[in-house]
Amino acid sequence: MRDRETQERYGPDVSRRSFLKGSGVAVAATAIATAAEEALAQDKKAASAASSSKAQDVELTINGEVHKLKLEPRVTLLDAIRNDCHLTGCKEVCTTKNCGACTVMIDGKAVYACTRLAIAEQGKKITTVEALSAGGKVDPVIPCFIKHDATQCGYCTPGFVVATRAFLNEHPKATLEEIQKGLGGNLCRCGTYDGVAKCALELAKGGA
């Protein structure tokens, strides 16, 4: 709802976040891969087994795009995706593997991005919620969430959508009981569980 309002007010290409950035309310530091950094990345393959604790080249493949970053080993995958790659669909809520708001897919499996270090996830295929509506192709999970009123405040929604997609990929014919168990790792304080389960069940029955 908010996104639609923003689009009406500021035109189709302005998201709330890019508006905030552009207006100077929030200034985010962007990591731009310079020629020097690219040269360093080439050297990385020859590096020894143990890296230093300093910021270093980290390459993340997110939604098919390679992001060349300079990160300290302590940066979590969630922080790298949100703060360095500016893909803010996955949310930071608990950071203690309890809530599921940060769910992304790694090599097709649902994972809490807050439980991974970015440096350890190089070379993996990372998929965020943004990929589920990229290039005008909308994943059926998204309209089905809307149909079953599976969102309220919306903060848990991106994580829930990614978890639902990952779950259905592995359990395309899931029963309601299997859905409730499989999606038990996502919390919603508004209580949209019923809508989410109905959505997953409809897609499981339709074999989507």
């Binding site: 087994a49 143990a50 890296s51 230093s52 604790s53 300290e72 080993p73 302590r74 979590t76 950071t95 203690t96 593997k97 309890n98 599921g100 769910t103 790694i106 499996k109 649902a110 994972v111 809490y112 807050c114 439980t115 991974r116 270090l117 440096i119 350890a120 978890a163 990952a166 779950f167 592995e170 409730q180 168990k181 499989g182 999606l183 038990g184 790792g185 996502n186 919390l187």
Partner: protein
Amino acid sequence: MKNFEFASPQTEAEAVGLLQDHGGRTAVLAGGTDLVGLLQADLVAPERVVDVRQIQSMSGVRREADGLWVGALTTLDDVLASPLLKPYLSLVQVADAHHAIQIQSSGTLGGDLCHLPNCWYYRNGYGLLAMKDGESLVETGDNRYHAILGNSGPAKFVNASRFAPALIAWGAKVRIIGPAPEQVEVVPLEYFYISPKSANQGNTILKPGQLISHIWLPAIEPTHVSATYEVLQMEGLDWPLATASVTLDVEGGIVRAARVVLGHVAPTPWVSQEAASLLRNQMVTEDLANAVGAAAVSKATPLSNNEYKVQIAKTAVKRAVLKAVGQLEGGL
């Protein structure tokens, strides 16, 4: 979160070498579901994190003449998919009871065995013994999730591992490598855990620079049956209030051998000889299962807020026994 070096070795020997540096102030990273949270909370502050997921020898399940060798990197998803582990029902039930695909995809058996306690005093920086000004915060504070057995010493937390009770009931051993190069020991899992007596003691026998590489399980016989019964407060992802695993050797309806292990009731997984001895040479009935449950908690010493856990643990044991022999009706 304090900064650290990062290493991603390819072999067990490399991992042991990398873990020894910095005086052993290093940490093993696998699925990350516990360690990354501990790092973010500054509860663990290693000089180096060693990601062991590239070590192929620590993945997969192998059948050998003496039993199964299960790589410590085996995930919960792997447990659910492995044809070799399928007959070890009590283990599969634990993997299935983790109601979150995110944990099932990431969590490893080695990580589960080394999972640090969820005691909220520990998680808020008061240490495993939760002492402040020389007094136990657990004893006078909110101890609703704390130990009801083995809690007379300074440690009052409950061991967090969900697989340890089932593995111990199967007589599993762990293969520990390091800290010296080529150093290997194979220890019964039952003796892996300790109830710390002082603040600088951990809750396992692992020394700095050591890690679990494999878990050994004995070959299964057609007469072996097993079950785990976990009591969870929530339908979604949650930690058990109490859990019980049993492995029985049943011939002609009579129990020949029994192991009963409780989880989340004591600072270590709790092996109940009292419960097991009641099962031997008996036929399992509901009355017997009831008596076994009562025996398992007969020495319980609940704290001020957790007497309810005694009944829960007792029922978990009773239901695990009935579940193992296919007599538990109605699921819950």
